[in-house]
């Protein structure tokens, strides 16, 4: 084929995860002809719902806590079936193997049950401070990262907004903001709180999905990232979606289709065509050529540049930076098919739908982290558990239950290898679970443990990393994914990035997809 061939598509989006679909939908809405290529049979990436045992369904990504309000509104996701109503929002419970659990009700602990009065007071102050500071970072997270190469209006206005909201804090608060910004979460918690369960929970949320422990400097940023999310206007809220996260993906898909987007599944992109230094289309692994004015990759940046484009089209420094992106995941995922709903120690009936966290103290999380640094899994892992079939009984046979748990830490590169390591990790996880829910092991009908290596293979996420690259300070903002590709553009004209590897990062957020579309359209992002 030559470049004189007729270009049929205005844009082709590689990857039918939520960011790819969001990007396509935004482009479709303004009349662009867009094709989305999804390698699997089902769209939705890590958000799709699958049947892991007969009659039991679950999603890898099991919680929704940050789908951006602009995405929801612009794509009219609620009209297309997304249900964000407070009825589905769930509390968080910090489980305790011996004592009573601590329950954070409302949006990220508006209420606190199971703590004494002084701790409630302390938490109210710390919580307000956390949200105040997260609010300052919000505009930076929603927009294209400011460019270092001479700022355009959009970027400088994001900075100006941040600066302004900083000033509004008042002097002493602003000083504290600047002091704690890059602090570790363990020290931060120790400054304001007493309750180990609460501190453990905050520590866990701060490091969830990253290769950091609570005592690693900068780990507090992870908590800000979590708290900058909002749902249905409630900052910090979370929900276990009915129908699993797959139902959320279905709403995004409907929005994209309503915008005229064409979606092809089982279409594996093998190569991005580069002609005269410009991306001109995609070749599928079947050999089929698809030409497009713009190529947008919602895949991991390393996959995009090193595999689909190829180093020969990029300069050495850029290739080196891409190869240096850290993206070895540390989280495993457990799916259990249970005969009946498990009973966790001290957990009141009405909170079984909650997000249940096992992280009894910051030290517990730190101790879980230590082995991961050395290529070993945690013998006592920290975990986040949901029972999605409580809110949506259709996910399991009558009377039975699905348990979905994110397990930390399980390093992608396990020294002994995952073939030998996986059964041992499963044993470690189950014995921790058994301690918190005695008798649970006897009710297991089927289990599925996904190590980062499994997640990589199944969801095509290198390193099994759900952020498509560590979300740490040195890989944020203009360094995400790397300098030279930080504003959703790339060194190759015609090629754009729209995945979680781009600013601001992962989770079911939709911002990378939305901003990429804006960038493609040449407008503000």
């Amino acid at each position: 084929m030559t470049s004189s061939d007729e270009t049929r598509w205005d844009a082709v989006v590689i990857g039918g995860g939520h960011n790819g679909l969001v990007c396509a939908a935004f482009l479709g809405r303004v009349g662009r002809k867009v094709l989305v290529l999804e390698a699997e049979e089902q769209i939705g990436g890590a958000g799709r719902t699958h049947e892991f045992a007969p009659g039991f369904r679950v999603s890898m990504a099991h919680l929704l806590n940050r789908l951006h309000p602009e995405v929801v509104k612009a794509l009219e996701l609620e009209k297309h079936g997304l249900d964000l109503s407070p009825a589905h929002q769930v509390p968080t419970v910090a489980l305790s193997s011996e004592g009573k659990p601590l329950i954070l009700t409302g949006a990220y602990g508006e209420g606190l049950e199971g703590a004494d009065a002084s701790e409630k007071q302390a938490w109210a102050e710390v919580r307000a401070q956390l949200f105040r500071y997260a609010d300052i970072l919000k505009p930076l997270l929603a927009r294209r990262p400011p460019s270092l190469d001479g700022m355009d209006l959009a970027a400088s206005s994001a900075w100006a907004m941040t600066g302004l909201s900083l000033k509004r804090l008042g002097r002493e608060d602003m000083r504290d903001f600047l002091r704690v910004l890059l602090m570790n979460v363990a020290d931060f918690c120790d400054e304001g709180l007493q309750d180990d369960r609460l501190k453990g929970l905050l520590a866990f949320d701060a490091v969830l999905g990253s290769h950091l422990g609570p005592r690693s400097p900068t780990s507090l940023l992870g908590l800000y990232y979590r708290l900058a999310g909002e749902l249905g206007g409630a900052p910090g809220a979370q929900l276990v979606p009915a129908g699993g996260t797959g139902a959320v993906m279905a709403a995004v898909r409907k929005a994209a289709e309503a915008a005229g987007v064409t979606i092809r599944t089982s279409a594996v992109a093998a190569k991005v065509f580069v002609e005269k230094g410009r991306a001109t289309g995609v070749m599928l692994d079947s050999g089929e050529d698809i030409r497009a004015g713009k190529v947008i990759s919602a895949l991991n940046p390393a996959t995009t540049f090193l595999e689909l484009v190829g180093p020969q089209h990029l300069d050495t420094g850029f290739v080196r930076r891409v190869s240096n992106i850290r993206m070895k995941g540390d989280a495993a995922k457990l799916h259990l098919a249970l005969e009946r709903i498990p009973a966790f120690n001290g957990l009141p009936q009405q909170y079984r739908n909650a997000r249940l966290v096992i992280a009894s103290s910051t030290d517990y999380v730190e101790r879980a982290f230590n082995p991961a640094k050395h290529g070993e899994f945690s013998p006592e892992p920290a975990m986040e558990i949901t029972l999605p079939s409580i809110g949506d009984p259709s996910l399991a046979p009558t009377g039975a239950s699905v348990l979905s748990a994110t397990i930390q830490y399980a390093p992608y590169l396990l020294k002994e290898g995952w073939v030998a390591g996986k059964p041992k990790l499963l044993e470690a996880v189950l014995s921790v679970l058994e301690r918190h829910a005695p008798g649970i092991r006897k009710t297991i009908l089927h289990s599925e443990l996904l190590t980062p290596a499994d997640i990589e293979a199944r969801y095509r996420m290198p390193g099994g990393h759900w952020h498509h690259g560590e979300l740490q300070a040195d890989q944020m903002l203009m360094s995400r994914p790397v300098f030279g590709a930080e504003g959703y553009h790339t060194p190759l004209p015609g090629l754009f990035l729209a995945g979680s590897g781009s600013h601001p990062g992962g989770g079911i957020f939709g911002v990378p997809g939305m901003n990429a579309a804006r960038r493609v359209l040449g407008g503000r992002a």
């Binding site: 602003m174 600047l178 002091r179 040195d474 203009m478 930080e486």
Partner: protein, 539 residues
Amino acid sequence: MKTWDAIVVGAGHNGLVNACYLQRAGLDVLVVEKNKWIGGAAVSRSLTPGFLYSNCSYVCSLFRPEIMRDLDLPRFGLQVISYEGGAVFTRDGDYLANYRDHHAHRREFARFSKKDAEAYDRYARDVTRQCRFIQPLLMRTAPDPTSLKPRDIGELVYLARKFAGLGAREMADTMRFWTMSISDFLDEYFETDVIKANLSLSGIIGTALGPMSPGTAYVLLHHYMGEVDGSVGAWGYARGGMGAVTQALADSFRASGGTIRTQAEVEEILVKKGQAAGVVLSDGEEIHGRMVISNADVKRTFLKLVDERELPEIFLRRVRNFRMRGSSGKLNIALDSMPEFPALPPDSPCVRADLHFTDTVERMERAYDDWKAGRWSADPFLDVVIPTTLDPTMAPPGKHFMSVFVQYCPPKVEGREWTDADRDAFAETVISQIVDYSPGFRDRIVHMEVRTPRELEAEVGLTEGNIFQGELTFDQLLFNRPVPGYAQYRSPIGGLYICGSSTHPGGGVMGAPGRNAALEILRDLKRGTSHMSPAHDVI
């Protein structure tokens, strides 16, 4: 009764530097020191006949050359002997040598990996660039970002301009560098374990962080920015031990008319009507002064020496939250003969410099994991030097003084106070590691002094034994050091200043905090500062 113009609490190197500059500006300055000797953590002590120990700090590099010249320190006897290289011993009986000469060092790397040797050029260039950016900040008072004073705004603009001057790509690299871990940073260049271990040690010395902790890449610079006699990145021994630095400072101070009183422990800083008025010694004696400058760390100064009622609550809270967990210990050993290191070729110059036995980053990180759990490292990281290989003044002929810096060593052992038995067990852990690489070492020991954070706190007065008077983490650097709002050497009390390593730019025998504090004090007094050389950038 006499009223001094200024009283400096503590005769450590920063206190003396500060005192020297104030005295030379025409003030009448008194330095009070609790110990019989002066020097704080830069001392040479004779604890066994014939031997001198640099028993706290042990090598010299960071000391600012501007101060050296302003205060005429060479004339007062300070001589720094620079040394070459060093070595990391590996467990398979080999070693990796360090050479100051870039090309020799590169060839040594090539013995392990051609790729790493090539990467070393890139690495050296990138690190030098970071040093060049950061070094000038050391000798400047950090601006207060919440302030609208022209000086603070001017300084922020200076920093922003300097940053923008790097160009977009280097700006991005710099921003990443500041928050990276030394381990991740090195992974971007090198593949060989021992090479990474060798280079990562500069990122952790003296900090309560492991090589895999974000922010340690920056600490690396603290150890790279030094110079000896205009030779950048060089390290050396002060002839006669580290006490020579503070002795020269003290002599320079006295020569310009200053007064030092030893065995004068300050129990309280007098405050009258919100204004510092002098000090009360432990024997009850009151000494009056118009200003008090504390070289003690920020916690000791404001939580022990000052009546809390004189301080605003928010300030106190921030001082209490200032973190200064000790992370290191020290063995000072008198040897009756030169230890042997069979891995090294005969006459290797490496024995005259730093010797290390930690050959992987993982071992270093595991050593840190022990510290986090409140234990000293079972397999510690040691920085060993034998200064007597270049400086014969510290031991009788043929005999040697060995300084062993040990990381990690917690301020408390699993939450309880140190006991003598703990201290001995800690020392044994260290000695047995050395013996693994130097057979017969144990038999050469004539005398040994073991210092854990407990001893450092008791003798030198460093809270929790933190050698930098406060951890070097982001929340405690620049305008946050020691606490937000008071990063310019002043305090909520008029006439009370702080000049120790708790302040910007932090620890190491650098002298910059003492000098910067003097500059601020003279500014408040509207005195001339023509006797203070401006900072110069040498890299």
